[in-house]
């Protein structure tokens, strides 16, 4: 009894003393990179003793919390707009920086037992399906690009996310780029006014809709499709090649855009150039403050980011994320160097 009391007292004293207390950084944001972030934070914690507490509340929530200054860092799948950045800078008295960490892709999954894997889609057809202009699987436009495939006389059931999400943001960003009708009628964002289809909550909701209904088509993250063995379509990219999503084709999309990356690293890489590039790819970003009030935390943040750019990248593939290409890592490191540390 006495012993436990003694230990408890020691612990209390330890917690109260700032020098001994462990450094703890709080963050919140996107759900999509949650798996790799928690792996990173775990590995980094055992390595350095610095603790990161990350809550995957969604990109919108991450941006809000960074703007309000209630967290030390945020995370988002869609970059902040100029207005949002200005708002955050005014409220926090410092710039918010976007640091890409890993990449993901959105794949188009479908339920067509007679076709199996390897359905091919062009941007025009994809937009047509999600606009409700193409309603049958044996439509001439689909048959034309899928010679030799047994396309059934089935109605197409469109499935989309009903909850606001970065996945939807990337997918609609792509459709906005490739289809004029889409950009005029629908536009892009984490939630949009879908012309047709059923909404499922979360990736599992969309996958459930697609799995259960023959003739259904939907979109999910690449990682989710791979983990659950869903079939997904090859997409025709800007260079005219049909490309399936995988780590290489996603990284290729970033590599192709690396030359034209803006200095603040806020960029959409959907419909990227490059023969091997998969067209519905995207970065996910950490949001950090250029100047942090707590210098110790700033130092830890910078060290962690540098680690994430090098050693951290090697964890990506096992967790179904595409690592950043070398050129992009260089740009990121330059950006990380601009964070003020004393």
């Amino acid at each position: 009894m006495k012993k436990t009391l003694f230990v408890a007292a020691l612990l209390l004293v330890g917690a109260a003393m700032p020098g001994i207390a462990q450094l703890k950084l709080n963050g919140a944001g996107a759900t999509f990179p949650y798996v790799i972030y928690s792996k990173w934070f775990d590995v980094y914690h055992t390595k350095t003793g610095i603790e990161f507490n990350y809550q995957s509340i969604g990109s919108g929530g991450g941006i809000k919390q960074v703007t309000e200054g209630t967290v030390d860092f945020g995370a988002t799948d869609g970059f902040m707009s100029d207005d949002q950045l200005k708002d955050a800078a005014e409220k926090q008295g410092t710039e918010v920086l976007h640091i890409p960490t890993v990449m993901g892709a959105v794949v188009v999954t479908y339920n067509l037992p007679s076709v199996g894997s390897g359905l091919r889609l062009t941007p025009e057809v994809l937009a047509g399906v999600f606009l409700g202009d193409i309603t049958k699987w044996n439509d001439a436009k689909i048959a034309e690009i899928n010679p030799g495939k047994q396309l059934p006389d089935l109605s197409i059931i469109v499935a989309h996310r009903s909850d606001g999400s970065g996945t939807t943001a990337i997918f609609t960003d792509y459709l906005t780029k490739v289809s004029k009708t889409w950009s005029e009628k629908v536009g892009k964002g984490p939630s949009v006014n879908w012309p047709v289809g059923l909404g499922g909550k979360g990736s599992e909701g969309v996958a459930g809709l697609v799995k259960q209904s023959e003739g259904a088509i939907g979109y999910v993250e690449l990682a989710y499709a791979v983990k659950n063995g869903l079939p997904y379509a090859e997409l025709k990219n800007k260079a005219g090649q049909f490309v399936a999503a995988n780590f290489e084709s996603v990284s290729a999309a970033a590599a192709a855009s690396a030359k034209s990356l803006p200095a603040d690293l806020r960029v959409s890489i959907t419909d990227a150039d490059g023969k091997e590039a998969y067209p519905i790819s995207g970065f996910t970003w950490l949001l950090v403050y250029k100047t942090m009030k707590d210098k110790e935390k700033a130092g830890a943040m910078v060290k962690f980011l540098r680690w994430a750019m090098t050693e951290g990248q090697s964890y990506a593939k096992d967790l179904y994320y595409a690592p950043l290409p070398k050129d992009v890592v260089k740009l990121c490191e330059k950006r990380i160097d601009s964070i003020e540390v004393k």
Binding site: G58, G60, S165, V186, S191, W194, L198, G200, K201
Partner: protein
């Protein structure tokens, strides 16, 4: 087991007649004449503070929601309740399809659950032998204790496939001439939401109706039987006497259906459309908030979602107030007999 507590509160003077008003008031007046006591003083004011706290919480919530939605109220005004475009990209919000979806799915649930629940209540209170009544009541109440996410999963994996493959095609081919059963059978949609809600509402209606019918004095039954009424005719008398109590139970069930979020979101199809067909996907107020609030980035978007919450809040309060009023009127009428 929330509805059980509710039932006890509402159906207060159950058959035992232990606490009729004259006794209660005489106890209260006696307490008044006792000496002033610190403990009593603290006790009284502390409990009052709690009661006032609950009340102010409701007002505060209403006020906060009103304040939070001021942007959207200023922008759209009453149009918010009457237009049907929900477009976050263009910041254009109309809640009519959401209100429609909430109301239709809830009403559908009531249409299915009311006769069933009433049947259960009649059996439990009038006909069932005692050894059967206890476990059966328990099981009915257990239905209410199942988390809604479990209902939702059951909906996705069992109800929806059954609807799509069997029920909806059958309805479409036999009753397809009605506007309610037109269109492609997706499985997901208004019908699935209504059915799932009916299962969730059923225990509320059944157990409160049972309690209300039990509170009808046996005198009434004996009189009916004495006049030569059959079992069915006696039950009719009891049903007539507990009419408003049953109405109250129904409204409480409706309140539950209106506010239900997770199970509905999982099966309703989440599409802000108004359609007469029960096969077509719909949307509800609670679902849209659950779906979109986390990623609502613009302030107008957030504001519109909070206004949806405000509308839902008002609807729920009105329904509950109505239910309370009705149940109160019936219990008061029979408390003195």
């Amino acid at each position: 087991m929330a509805q059980n507590v509710v039932a006890q509160t509402y159906g207060a003077p159950a058959g035992d007649g232990g606490s009729n008003p004259p006794v209660a008031s005489s106890v209260r007046s006696r307490a008044k004449h006792r000496q002033w006591n610190v403990g009593d003083f603290v006790f009284k004011h502390l409990t009052m503070l709690f009661a006032v706290g609950v009340l102010s919480l409701v007002f505060l919530m209403g006020y906060e929601m009103y304040k939070g939605s001021s942007l959207s109220i200023a922008q759209f005004g009453w149009r918010f309740l009457a237009t049907s475009v929900w477009d976050p990209v263009r910041d254009e919000y109309g809640a009519l399809p959401l209100i429609f979806g909430t109301v239709l799915s809830s009403l559908l649930a009531l249409v299915i659950a009311l006769p069933l629940g009433l049947g259960v209540a009649v059996f439990l209170s009038e006909l069932a032998p005692r050894w059967l009544e206890r476990p059966l009541s328990f099981l009915v109440e257990l239905l209410a204790a199942i988390p809604s996410i479990v209902y939702g999963l059951w909906g996705i994996f069992v109800l929806v496939p059954w609807l799509r493959l069997h029920a909806e095609p059958w309805l479409g081919s036999h009753l397809g001439f009605l506007p309610f059963f037109k269109g492609a059978p997706y499985g997901f949609g208004m019908l699935a939401a209504g059915l799932i809600l009916s299962v969730m509402v059923l225990p509320i209606i059944a157990s409160i109706s049972r309690d209300v019918m039990r509170s009808i004095p046996d005198l009434l039954r004996e009189a009916a039987l004495g006049l030569g009424a059959t079992r069915w005719e006696t039950t009719k008398v009891v049903l007539a006497a507990s009419k408003s109590g049953i109405l109250g139970a129904t409204l409480l069930g409706l309140g539950r259906a209106v506010g239900e979020t997770m199970a509905v979101t999982m099966v309703i199809g989440n599409r802000a459309d108004i359609s007469a067909s029960l096969f077509s996907p719909g949307y509800s107020m609670a679902s849209v908030i659950a779906n979109e609030f986390a990623e609502a980035t613009t302030s107008m978007y957030t504001s519109a979602l909070i206004e949806v919450a405000l509308v839902l809040f008002v609807v729920t309060i009105l329904l509950n107030a109505l239910a309370r009023l009705i149940v109160w009127s019936v219990t008061r009428r029979y408390a003195s007999t």
